[in-house]
Structure formats: structure tokens, C-alpha cells
């Protein structure tokens, strides 16, 4: 297991347990948890708190016949649901978004590539592929951005991020992540708003590339 130094903030783990995170962020949190025993322990503690609240909940009367109808269908085979296991560098939650297939990369120039995994009201998630030594274009953030490293590593003004590490970006973070020497850096990035690039050209290209 990789040595992880950048974790998910605890309040976000609580929100993940409760299911109040937007889907794109939940994808990053579940992926980080797939590497990180510490954060799984924190999740376990929040689940325990949730369980205690559930046990303390007021009972509501059930419709008559509900129990009988559940008992009657216990052995009815459930609709099979695909299960996506971790594969290669991609944890299960990413494989689920890829529906079990390989990424389909679209080039963004300078060797940088992306594969959009999810777009919805609550934000978007994508895979980013950054060759060693290459910078992700300088950008500032409109909202919150989570970036989880799946392969290689990157460094920016705030530190070095290796496999399993997650960087939390917000309005205040203006940074230039550069992929470190070695394997190309592959990240899972989720935002709750479109990224703005600081340089003019990329900003014009933004609608085109949906970054």
C-alpha cells in the first residue's frame, strides 16, 4: 500500500458516509478510501455514529402486510448488477465510472490528455494524463477541486503528491502542478465548477475541451 500523506478532510468523510457529497466528489473520496486505511477507519467511526443514531431513531408504524411481502420475496433472485473491481492502476470506483473498460483519452495538447468520466449538476470528474515534466496549465478554481493521484506523482507550490494522495483546491489556491520524473502522472480530478485557466489561450479553449 502506498504511503499516503495527503488525506480527505474528516468533514468530507462524514458527508460521504451520509451521502451528501455530489457524485463526482464521492467518486474521489471512495477512490482515496480504496488506498487508505486511516481514512477507512475514520469512515468506520462515522458509520458507527450513524448506526447509533439509527438505533436511537423513533419508530414509525409500518403498513400492514409489509413484513409478509418482504419475507415472501427473500429468495427471489435480485436483478444482477455489474460489479467493477479494481484493475491495474484504477480502483473500483474509477472502474465503475469507466464501466469496466479502458480510458478513452482525448488530447488537450502538450501530451496532456483527459477522459471525462462524469458530468452532472453537482460537478464533473475526469481522468487526467500528464507526461513527466509536463505542467497542467496554470489555473485557478471556481469552486472546490479534488485531485487524486493514481499513477506517478506531481508537485506544486504546496508539496508533492504520490499515488493515493489527494489535493484539495479552492478559490484561494493558484498553483501549477507539474508531473514528476518517471511514469506519466495519471489523476482522478473532480470539480464542482468548471476550471478557469489563468492564461488567455487556454481560457478560450476551455469550452472546447470542457475543462
Amino acid at each position: 500500500m502506498p504511503a499516503i500523506t495527503h488525506h480527505i478532510p474528516d468533514a468530507m468523510i462524514a458527508a460521504y458516509a451520509a451521502g451528501s457529497l455530489p457524485h463526482a466528489f464521492a467518486m474521489v473520496v471512495a477512490s482515496h478510501l480504496s488506498y487508505c486505511r486511516d481514512c477507512q477507519a475514520a469512515l468506520g467511526a462515522h458509520q458507527s455514529a450513524g448506526g447509533a443514531l439509527l438505533e436511537a431513531a423513533h419508530s414509525e408504524e409500518l403498513s400492514p402486510g409489509m413484513k409478509a411481502s418482504v419475507m415472501a420475496i427473500l429468495d427471489k433472485p435480485p436483478t444482477p448488477e455489474p460489479v467493477y473491481d479494481a484493475k491495474g492502476i484504477y480502483p473500483g470506483p474509477v472502474m465503475q465510472a469507466l464501466k469496466g473498460g479502458a480510458p478513452r483519452w482525448r488530447t488537450l495538447g502538450m501530451g496532456v490528455k483527459q477522459n471525462i468520466l462524469y458530468e452532472g449538476d453537482g460537478g464533473s470528474a475526469r481522468l487526467l494524463y500528464i507526461p513527466a515534466g509536463q505542467a497542467v496549465p496554470d489555473h485557478t478554481h471556481n469552486g472546490l477541486e479534488l485531485t487524486l493521484v493514481l499513477q506517478g506523482s506531481f508537485s506544486d507550490e504546496t508539496g508533492r503528491f504520490g499515488v493515493g494522495d489527494v489535493e484539495i483546491g479552492d478559490e484561494d489556491l493558484e498553483h501549477t502542478p507539474v508531473a514528476d520524473a518517471g511514469d506519466p502522472c495519471i489523476c482522478l480530478a473532480a470539480t464542482d465548477a468548471p476550471l478557469r485557466f489563468s492564461a488567455l489561450m487556454p481560457r478560450l479553449l476551455q469550452p472546447l475541451f470542457r475543462i
Binding site: A15, A17, A18, S48, G51, H58
Partner: protein
């Protein structure tokens, strides 16, 4: 003396002689919680009577819990039915060394609620390999259960407004920003196992009173 199968699921040894209402004892004389006993009987023996008893105990509470999030009675019952079926079908995944019964059920309830309401599959983490430092044994389960029991007491002793806020956070009515800024919920520094995390949560909850 009742013996309890402490193997990881799916258990190979059967759970002997446990029926709803029975108490499973372990060597030091302390007992597993009733929820755990039911779930183990369902997991290892596909025990319908145990499931029926679990239903009677749990389903009305689950309905109340789901309705606290603003769901109608009809939607709540749809979710409760789905959760109860999921418990039956996924019982093989229940491992009392890893999670207390109520914590395991809580996560199923939240996942099913979200899947049903948003019609999308919630991403769930991969299982991590067993922690080499943790040898599964009964005391580990009892430790988790004792902590959960104390946590339940701590929550019962909260002021109504504090309890309401924490409840809101755990039924998905607060965003993560609201959770961090309003509830000041604990565990920010949890870097250890669930048991330690729980201990800290309990302490923090005490501090909230």
C-alpha cells in the same frame, strides 16, 4: 455455552444453537449485541426466523430514521423494504470485526436511499486487505460493540438541538462545508483504527454537551 463462529465471512463453521432472543456468549462472559447475533444467524445459516426478528426490531426504526430526512411515508417504506432485502442478500459481507451491526446497516441504508432517490450508483471503496496488526478475535468484536454502546449513550445525553444537528449531518442534510463549520464534528485527527476513532468521537460528543 454457545459458540460463535469468528471466521471471516462466509463462515465455514456453523453458528450453533443461536435463535432470536438467544444470547451468544464468549469466553469472558460478555455478550454480543442482539443485532449482531441476528446478522450472524442470517449470514451463516440463512435463518429466516432471525431475519423476521430483525425486521420487527429494525424496520420501524429505519422508517423513522429515513423520514427524518424529509422522505414521505411511502418513499420511506420503499427504502426500508430495499434495505431489508439488501441485508438479507448481502449478509455474507457482514464482518463484525470490521463494523458494528448498526454501522453496517446504517451505510446500507444511506447507500440504498441515495441510489433510489438519485437513480445512480454510489461509488463505494474497494475492500482493503486485513490489517496485519489485527488478529480477528471475539474481544475485538466486543470492543467495537462496547464503544458503540457508549456512543449511543453519549448521543442520548446530548441536548436536543445538538442531537438534531448531528442527526441532520448523518442523514445527509448537511453538505461537507456545513458539517465542518456548523457541527464541529470530531475525528479530524483520527489516524488509528475504528476503535480509537470511536473513543475519540465519544469524547468529542461529550465535549459538545
Amino acid at each position: 455455552m454457545v459458540t460463535v463462529n469468528l471466521d471471516k465471512p462466509p463462515g465455514r463453521k456453523a453458528l450453533h444453537g443461536v435463535s432470536p432472543g438467544a444470547t451468544a456468549a464468549v469466553s469472558n462472559g460478555k455478550a454480543f449485541s442482539q443485532l449482531t447475533i441476528w446478522l450472524l444467524a442470517i449470514r451463516d445459516q440463512r435463518d429466516r426466523a432471525a431475519f423476521g426478528a430483525l425486521f420487527d426490531h429494525l424496520a420501524p426504526r429505519l422508517k423513522g430514521f429515513v423520514m427524518r430526512s424529509g422522505a414521505s411515508s411511502a418513499l420511506a417504506e420503499e427504502i426500508v423494504q430495499d434495505v431489508m432485502l439488501t441485508i438479507w442478500r448481502k449478509a455474507s459481507q457482514f464482518d463484525p470485526h470490521k463494523a458494528q451491526a448498526s454501522a453496517w446497516i446504517y451505510q446500507i441504508a444511506r447507500n440504498r436511499h441515495i441510489d433510489i432517490v438519485r437513480k445512480e450508483h454510489r461509488p463505494v471503496p474497494d475492500e482493503l486487505s486485513a490489517d496485519p496488526g489485527l488478529e480477528p478475535d471475539a474481544s475485538q468484536i466486543l470492543g467495537l460493540e462496547q464503544e458503540a454502546e457508549q456512543l449511543k449513550l453519549a448521543i442520548q445525553q446530548l441536548q436536543p438541538d445538538q442531537k438534531e444537528m448531528i442527526e441532520k449531518a448523518y442523514i445527509g442534510q448537511l453538505t461537507h462545508q456545513e458539517i465542518s463549520s456548523q457541527t464541529g464534528l470530531p475525528l479530524g485527527t483520527v489516524k488509528s483504527r475504528i476503535r480509537l476513532g470511536l473513543g475519540r468521537l465519544r469524547k468529542e460528543l461529550k465535549g459538545l454537551r
